[in-house]
Symmetry: C2
Subunit: 348 residues, 2 copies
């Protein structure tokens, strides 16, 4: 001992302490400090305490870059955010981001946000981060567009978990977590049936939207199971307030429903507008249920009953699945389907 640590003279006083600083202070080797941090059970109790004291005194925290380099992992999860989602999907995504950050922290990960330089390239951003080993894994959320991402990432051996089912390839091997939309609309439909409604209309998206058709099926199965008709009671339109408004006006004229189930809050708010136009009371005269439980659903006048996705739970399961992927644990099932709940408000 007594050897001068060579690098100290040149160090700025403000720069954080290193493993070597702690080692010198505790009178042990660097490796022993490393073990104190990562494998405490390898140390004798008294040594451990001495090292821990030195760590506390100096306020030492391992340098991330050095650790990342050595262990070939960054403890970062990449999440690509779409520049601007349409309608209420944006709010859903934001609620998910919050939940994901929280769930990731519990597992020792941080969330790295990135966006697509070139929106036409499905792998834009992903590929660069992967090759630069800047993230350990991805959370893929933009799967609803006919996700080429999943397949492409799988090909490159990139670890990831998708929030959203592989609609176009139900047998896809990659792990995913999703919310059962049909169960949500079924919940909504049963809720309305329980309130005595028998003529319940559907306003959803165009037929080429698989998510839209899934949500629709919850409505139709709910009516069919009670022997009630669905024909003439469904409409498929764009996801805008104006479309919901028009579609509901037509349905009211032609099919006289007493309740509406909608594929989104945006459409449901369109229905509320139609009711207001006609002097009908939402909730009393005609019931309305939306989907997403957006902020707007809480703010509009009678309060909009809406299907709420369990995003906190989705985030937790996504992180759990990611841990499995990164440790190469085999999974019994690639997918996990969670059940939404219903936020009941004045509109029903």
């Amino acid at each position: 001992m007594g050897r001068m640590p060579e690098r100290v003279p040149g160090r700025l006083p403000g720069s954080p302490p290193t493993l070597a600083d702690v080692a010198e202070r505790a009178g042990v080797s660097r490796q022993t400090v490393s073990n104190a941090v990562n494998n405490a059970e390898l140390l004798r109790p008294d040594t451990l305490e001495r090292v821990r004291a030195a760590i506390a005194e100096l306020g030492y925290l391992p340098n991330r870059a050095a650790r990342n380099l050595r262990t070939r992992s960054s403890h970062l999860l990449g999440l690509r955010i779409s520049p601007h989602l349409e309608g209420t999907a944006e709010a859903t995504m934001d609620r998910f981001v919050h939940s994901l950050v929280e769930a990731s922290r519990g597992a020792g990960y941080h969330v790295l946000l990135f966006d697509a330089v070139d929106r036409t390239d499905p792998l834009a951003g992903y590929d660069d981060l992967l090759r630069a080993t800047a993230v350990d894994a991805f959370v893929v959320t933009d799967t609803y567009l006919g996700n080429p991402q999943a397949g492409l990432l799988d090909e490159r051996g990139a670890p990831f978990v998708a929030f959203g089912r592989p609609w176009d390839d139900p047998g896809a091997p990659h792990p995913w977590v999703d919310v059962d939309g049909a169960a949500g609309t079924r919940l909504a439909t049963d809720h309305l049936l329980d309130r005595g409604h028998e003529r319940i209309a559907w306003i959803g998206w165009r037929k080429d939207s698989t998510i839209g058709e899934d949500r629709r099926s919850g409505w139709s199965s709910g009516l069919r199971d009670r022997g009630l008709p669905t024909s003439g009671l469904a409409s498929r339109v764009e996801d805008t307030v104006a479309s919901g408004r028009e579609a509901s006006a037509v349905l009211l004229d032609e099919a006289r429903p007493t309740a509406f189930v909608c594929a989104s809050d945006t459409l449901a708010i369109g229905v509320l507008h139609t009711l207001a136009d006609r002097g009908l009371s939402a909730g009393r005269d005609v019931a309305v249920v939306g989907f997403d439980d957006s902020q707007a659903a809480q703010l509009v006048l009678p309060g909009l009953t809406s299907v709420r996705q369990p995003l906190e739970q989705v985030a937790v399961e996504v992180v759990r699945a990611l841990e499995g992927v990164m440790t190469h644990q085999p999974r019994p099932e690639p997918g996990l389907l969670l059940v939404p709940t219903l936020s009941v408000r004045g509109s029903s």
Copy 2:
């Protein structure tokens, strides 16, 4: 040449190529490849092309961890997200996050999200990331609570830029970017005055909210400058729909205003509810203006006119300021105040 690269045999075929791989392929030294990436002007044109070809063939991208370790910088910006903000502030924050990710990318940075383990500690999360040199700088957004962060981060020499003024210490030296709330409400007030309104009411937050008082001042100065009265026309309440509804009912009864300017969309929607209760038409009978231009403002029935914060511009300026901070460039002014715009819709 001809020397076998020692490390190749042990490398997994899937692991990304390194500087050494590129160097060997191009027949140059590692340093030359490094220069080709970072200081292209140092290379002779033909060498540069050869190296670039090798980089392209191998799909090389510098390893982030190694670069971070050597250069002592991570090219990451830390952003702490609050677990759950109240009301429409959450939507504002999310729009800002999107803009920040985009602006950061332009400057070669990514955004790292984190949240507070312990919400009572103002530096929770910040300190750890700083000591672990996990981020280069922070974007501090939660300054409206009487920001102890700014001072504490300044003390530790942490580079950061705040979105939000240092209300409690106007002379604070740290850089910040903010939106001029008073200018926004002034814009709203002038807009209503131009439409012929003379009795314009204010519904804002409690007096201890500095932001609320700032926004209020735009309304009061607008009226004073035209010699119109403000007394009896202002109300200060909680930021909820119910409060806005009650406050507007009282004001309508006692002061008979023909227009309302509100400190938030949440309050403005409360006003809309009161108008609907009384069979008054928003826009025709009574005009209403909100603040934040939230999604709900676009969805509610006549459309809510609202003050829109230029968050894209804020993000760009925050990143610009951060670049200045990190290169230790002196700043003429610590702060920058941006002017909002007005999104005019049916409610006015």
